[in-house]
Symmetry: C2
């Protein structure tokens, strides 16, 4: 179902603007109202994706590896390969290697025409890129599945429609903020002899943007920065994680196809592939002409970029320690099921997975009566078993682990306390080489901060015994301020606890979910309604997506003269 | 005409919101349309300021020095004095010295109640602060006159109404951006069983803000950051230049009066006065709890802050080399008069004063025929004479020079080329001790970059001989990118030159004024219509005032739960 052709038919610019801008206006309204909005269907079997979309997506994915990406960009001639699916197979595709300075030079050369295109046309072309990626969502889902290890349905949803909706949200904000000022005015200062000036306000880009992608959510975390930058006039160089090149490579292919068909240089969006002897992130991020950097990844490298890529505005999403405070519930069974799913989804390889669950050592009151601290642990273990057995069912939630250090961390964490739920290797029915582990849950005391107060990325959570709910909330306040956090949840027995938790959330700068049950999980946010990260604690210096995320990606240059 | 009283009458919060918010909405609309808007009259004799406002302002200024500022804030008990008017007199006022850590602690303690006040009430109180400063505009003008050395009319206008309008513009942007998202939503995701969530979006401040004021425009450059920060929920600590404490001290007095009368802690706005043995800027700007810094001053210290106050968002306005390209004109006399005024106003002690004027060495075509390079210099010299003689007239434009290094720079620059207009000391008819100098204009060749391509703050300009207009434009492009610039002007003989100059302006990131004559000068911008600085070149990393200036001063914390 690939819509890509070797020579893309020309795009009528005016027609595209007329078609996409009304939808974009709706998207802006939804983002401002924070109401439900989605352009790309998350139903994996939606007939919009064709008759047998999963099989077709698989076939497209195979064909894509065969033919390789259609890219038009400077290259050294060298080719780079080596992505290995966490499910086993090595991807049969390679990519051009490029010299960073040449990519930057090509991007700069392409910039003036893109600047002069103006916000409306740029936004319409960004929507077109997303739409064409949407038409290839199953192919994209396969690429995400086989690079990140996400289970297929999740890879399709999070890597396809949800990522595209986040990208659209970024376009909406960028378009809104960059068009909020009049493009021109006849200014008249009253007086006996009025002063009349003609003024023009030109939206100008900051310069070249570099996106440094992550392995786990290449499109979901990457598209907002890519789209916000492109929509505000900046050329984009995408430097994917070496283990997850293809999903962002597909973005580059489609972006070049659309830009080229509209008469713009394909060098506005290029792919920078690391070679084993030359990782490119530092070289690109510190290039004097690179003025914007979007990064998702480790705290260490994120902090380094913030301190060293000083010629650029740097937007980072790093790591943190996500927390939950359990004070009580009137839906105990639903709470445990919800927690078990949050621990398990994609083997806890999400920046939003809860790591420390604070429970009073005296236990909690629930609709099923008082539960001791130990009973809370038993119920979590039981909920995990219920969710993940048999293995055939479990792997559809857990996905696979691509990074061996995750497995090492599980082993290390096992010794840190009393094991409440052991991490068991599961055999994947379809992929015998896939590495799959159920979540580890370890009970520790709040005083064992060495255990729970260090980020341990992967299916590792701690049940932390506290003196009281208030004690748990104070630990949250402290750890969020020091370590950062993307998520925070509370199961509250009273309005007082919800109010106290809200106060902690505002003070520490982390968003909070209360009493989740059913199909909403603390690790998931919805584009247009939920902000992802706040930018107010050390886990991220930016939020996806708000005005602060887009407003500094362009500047306004004024010209004025007497009327 | 001071409206300040020892015990301010209580402010009715709801009433204040009802009164000020409609006006604020108008201000937002004007800012978005970039149309003419002003809340505070710039007419120095406007009856709104009373019957004999200049005399009354003088009397208020004397009385103020007598009584001292009414401040409520932590203090060491020590008092600091020593402001000396560039017109001679030493100001008879002293200020409390405070420990920076205590100011920050007091600010932090005041923050939660201010955060919880919400954007509407905060904005209304900011407007009220500005209005009460507006009622004391003449007193404020005197304070600016006798600290900065600006001529009185300018001190009144730029230090009073124009500064207050810029402050209002910042409140308008801050209020607009921080209320652009819904404060709450009932989110409904469609489906067989719809998912319904209640969500709240809390605007939370970044933390304590520190404004580091400059000597030349304490209120004009200070109020935007102060108001943008306060309106978005951040407490403000104002660290004025030791030579210009009083104007910002008045801002603190009035802000504390308003905040206190509305039931908020006066510690939300405090004054940090340097003592001779303890300058406070570095200590405050790098305090861990300080999350926003607004700075106006030298490039050296601005760059230092950007590199070292990494715990904060840092907004800087630094120095640059402002340029003019003269290609030709059909209003030669008006052009020379306009240039002469721009060189002279406040003795060139503006970050917007043109320094390098590029003129083709073969001369220019004008409505008065061809003028050689030498003739252009002669006409500028004649226009300066016409403008500034006799001295009684001249001092009302030149003001006085407070910083002895300005005079040293004039002497140094005199030797750098052929003197076109000599800098002459003028005797001030009213203040014999005032240091007054007419502008120096020196002719050099474009190759003498050591002369014109270094910022020389003060009444120092260069007439730079170029090969052609194109050559001049390329020099502008280059120097703006390297040195930065706040202003750029062109006298263009053709539309082609205007188009080429626009391209240079967009590329280098500096705003451009074309063919100014009459009462609009390149060194002046109007709030709500003209942006001051672009943030796109090294002279400033921010613009006064746009969305980027306010959008990162707050974050949004979300709470959500099942409906």
């Amino acid at each position: 179902m690939s819509t890509s052709t070797t020579v893309a038919p020309a795009i009528d610019r005016d027609d595209l603007v007329a078609r996409h801008l009304p939808d974009l206006r709706e998207a802006v309204d939804a983002a401002r109202a924070r109401s439900y909005h989605s352009r790309y269907s998350e139903r994996i079997t939606d007939p919009a994706y064709g008759d047998d979309p999963i099989a077709a997506g698989q076939a497209d994915f195979e064909a894509l590896q065969e033919r390789g990406l259609r890219l038009d960009q400077p290259s050294t001639g060298e080719r780079v390969a080596g992505e290995r699916s966490p499910y086993g197979p090595t991807l049969a595709i390679d990519y051009p290697a490029s010299d960073p300075a040449e990519l930057v030079a090509a991007a700069k050369a392409a910039m003036p025409a893109w600047r002069d295109a103006g916000p409306d046309l740029r936004a319409a072309l960004c929507v077109e890129i997303l739409d064409r990626l949407g038409a290839r969502a199953h192919e994209l889902g396969q690429a995400v599945h086989h690079t990140t290890g996400q289970p297929l349905v999740m890879a399709f949803q999070a890597g396809g429609p949800h990522a595209l909706d986040r990208g659209l949200e970024a376009v909406a904000y960028a378009w809104d903020v960059s068009t909020r000022h009049a493009a021109s005015v006849t200014w008249e200062k009253p007086g006996k002899r009025p002063t009349i000036m003609e003024k023009r306000f030109h939206v100008v880009p900051r310069g070249v943007e570099v996106t440094i992608g992550c392995r786990t959510f290449p499109t979901w975390n990457g598209l907002p920065g890519i789209m916000a930058s492109l929509a505000t006039g900046n050329p984009v160089i995408i430097k994917p994680h070496p283990g997850a090149v293809l999903p962002l490579g597909l973005v580059v292919e489609v972006a070049q196809e659309v830009l080229g068909a509209a008469g713009f240089s394909p060098h506005l969006v290029t792919l920078a592939t690391d070679t084993p002897d030359r990782p490119l992130a530092i070289e690109l991020a510190t290039n004097a002409d690179v003025k914007l950097v979007d990064f998702t990844g480790s705290t260490t490298f994120g902090d380094w970029l913030e301190a060293n890529a000083t010629q650029a505005e740097v937007y980072t999403e790093k790591a943190g320690v996500n927390t939950i405070v359990v004070d009580g519930t009137d839906q105990a069974a639903a709470m445990f099921a919800n927690l078990a799913f949050s621990f398990s989804l994609y083997s806890g390889q999400m920046c939003t997975t809860p790591q420390a669950v604070f429970v009073p050592r005296d236990g909690i009151d629930t609709d099923e009566g008082h539960l001791s601290f130990e009973q809370v642990g038993e119920r979590i273990a039981a909920a995990l078993e219920e969710l993940l057995e048999p293995a055939k069912k479990g792997v559809e939630i857990l996905g696979a682990i691509g990074d061996p250090s995750v497995v090492e961390r599980i082993e290390e964490a096992t010794g840190l306390g009393r094991v409440v739920a052991a991490s068991t290797p599961l055999e994947h029915p379809a992929y015998p080489d896939a590495v799959v582990h159920t979540p580890l849950v370890v009970a520790v005391d709040a005083a064992d901060a060495d255990a729970w107060d260090t980020e341990r990325f992967g299916p590792i959570s701690f049940l932390v015994a506290t003196d009281s709910t208030e004690h748990g909330l104070e630990l949250v306040r402290d750890t969020v301020k020091r370590r950062g956090a993307i998520t925070f949840a509370v199961y509250a027995g009273s309005d007082e606890v919800r109010a106290a938790a809200t106060e902690v959330a505002m003070d520490a700068g982390v968003s909070a979910s209360f009493d989740l049950h059913g199909s909403v999980f603390v690790n998931q946010t919805s584009a247009f309604s939920d902000f992802h990260a706040t930018g107010a604690n050390p886990a991220a210096n930016a939020s996806l997506v708000d005005d602060a995320f887009v407003a500094s990606r362009f500047r306004v240059v004024e010209t004025r003269w007497h009327a």
